[in-house]
Symmetry: C2
Subunit: 254 residues, 2 copies
DNA sequence: TCCGGTGTTCGACATTGTCGACCGCCGACC
DNA sequence: GGTCGGCGGTCGACAATGTCGAACACCGGA
């Protein structure tokens, strides 16, 4: 019993599979992909369906994720201490900077967005809470990779995909970026993940000075940058916000 | 094998338990609440933790929901067809009505909010996607209860809690409300769920004319109402939006 | 220091989930 | 319109699997 519970592991694998494939998947697809007997896969799927984690399309019989997951994911946010403490400060940061604010934590091989404040204007924006961002190219990711040893390992060992011509992919170049980040206490992303988009981020520490997440603002490079560099006022605002949240968590006193 | 897989069922129960209790729960709490041996509960929790569905606080050893749930819940939204079709129309509705817009579907004994557009001003608002609203007192819930037989059963059989003095709790009164809803094609909530808050909602049907969800706007009673009734202009806007989304789903042509 | 509590490990037992063959159904394709 | 292939779903035998309860190591408070 030192290992894991097989059926729960398999249920999780099914959920992750359904989350990955864009559209619905059939029973046979699921079974063959995971190397399970059809009967086995069906038993797990039936249970997941009863629990609301999976839904079945009446017409095609294919499976997709269920609503209960949305509810539980929401409950996760309610319990999330960092997010709760950061709510007020990120709101202020969005207001003062005029740009959208992201709060991210390390999850698996990327940055999980746990809070997102829209840019304060009436433009159409999609909420990115729950989305994953790469570690090696975003400002949030660089901050985590620079301060969190686990994140560093993931970023160094994983593949660093080039999203734009400016993405840093070489190991040496990436380590240099992290050195700079640690030296000045914040990280930038100048069109390294999305063309025309730049961002700044700073680390958040908990009471034991352990890095637990990162805040950052993101916006069109024309607004966020000046002379090819992030505007100093924005950098200061982001770092202030990060410090405020850290202090709120009972963290460092400087 | 006609039944469900026990361990998966139990894992789901643990997740739901963790989602319910506000703060973290200890192993012993979990085991005793679900009537399991400590060792059994530990095995399931360990597996859920490896899969990222549960996290353990290093200091206290207590358990809470994990980040993977947020990611999966987000993936659910990506696949959700109704939500995808409704995105554009709800945006327009928020703009034209000047109030916040909600899109809900039936889930278990309540309305699950799958999309939420903020009121188009700079006020501080919390995103309610993933939250559950009651069936018997909200406009969205009444619409679902009026048109969806399953929702109707849940609303009638379940307990109808009085949130404000205006909440309709008696069975007869509630059925009357549903009759009115069916007769005029939309439902209202005049301070029946939250004091000072009113809302209107209309049903969305799919291509087979089956009710699949509801859209509605919600706002301060002073803005939304006139002479103790919902403003006619708002009702028309909501119903237009519901029809537009239904048509987009390939539904009814009127 | 001791105690009550925690989370965790371990091994024996039999319950439980797994497997693979079988069934009925729908849609595509001669 | 028949046939055929593939689908999702079911069933029963087998043993691998998860369950249980006792014992463990650890921590904090008394």
């Amino acid at each position: 019993m030192a290992g894991s519970i097989q059926s729960v592991e398999r249920a999780a694998a099914i959920l992750r599979l359904l989350a990955g494939g864009e559209r619905r998947l059939g029973l046979t697809d699921v079974a063959s992909t995971l190397g399970l007997a059809k009967g086995t896969a069906h038993g797990i799927l039936r249970t997941l369906q009863q629990e609301g984690f999976v839904e079945q399309d009446d017409a095609s019989g294919k499976y997709q994720l269920g609503a209960e997951l949305l509810r539980l994911g929401n409950s996760y946010l309610d319990v999330h201490e960092l997010r709760a403490r950061a709510l007020v400060w990120t709101d202020d940061l969005a207001r003062s900077s005029g740009e959208s604010v992201y709060l991210g934590v390390l999850h698996k091989e990327g940055v999980l967005i746990v809070h997102h404040v829209f840019r304060p204007d009436d433009s159409r924006q999609v909420l990115e809470v729950g989305a994953m961002h790469p570690l090696h190219s975003t400002a949030l990711g660089k901050v985590l990779a620079a301060y969190d040893p686990v994140a560093h390992g993931e970023a160094v060992e994983g593949e660093r995909e080039a999203f734009t011509p400016r993405t840093v992919t070489s190991l040496q170049g990436f380590e240099d970026v992290l050195d700079i980040t640690r030296a000045r206490g914040w990280a930038a992303d100048l069109e390294e993940t999305w063309d025309g988009v730049a961002s700044v981020a700073a680390p958040i520490h908990d009471r034991r000075r352990v890095p637990v997440g990162a805040v950052g603002v993101t916006g069109a490079v024309e607004r966020v940058c000046e002379d090819g560099e992030i505007r100093a006022r924005l950098v200061a605002a982001v770092r202030d916000c990060a410090r405020a949240v850290s202090r709120d968590l009972g963290g460092g006193r400087f």
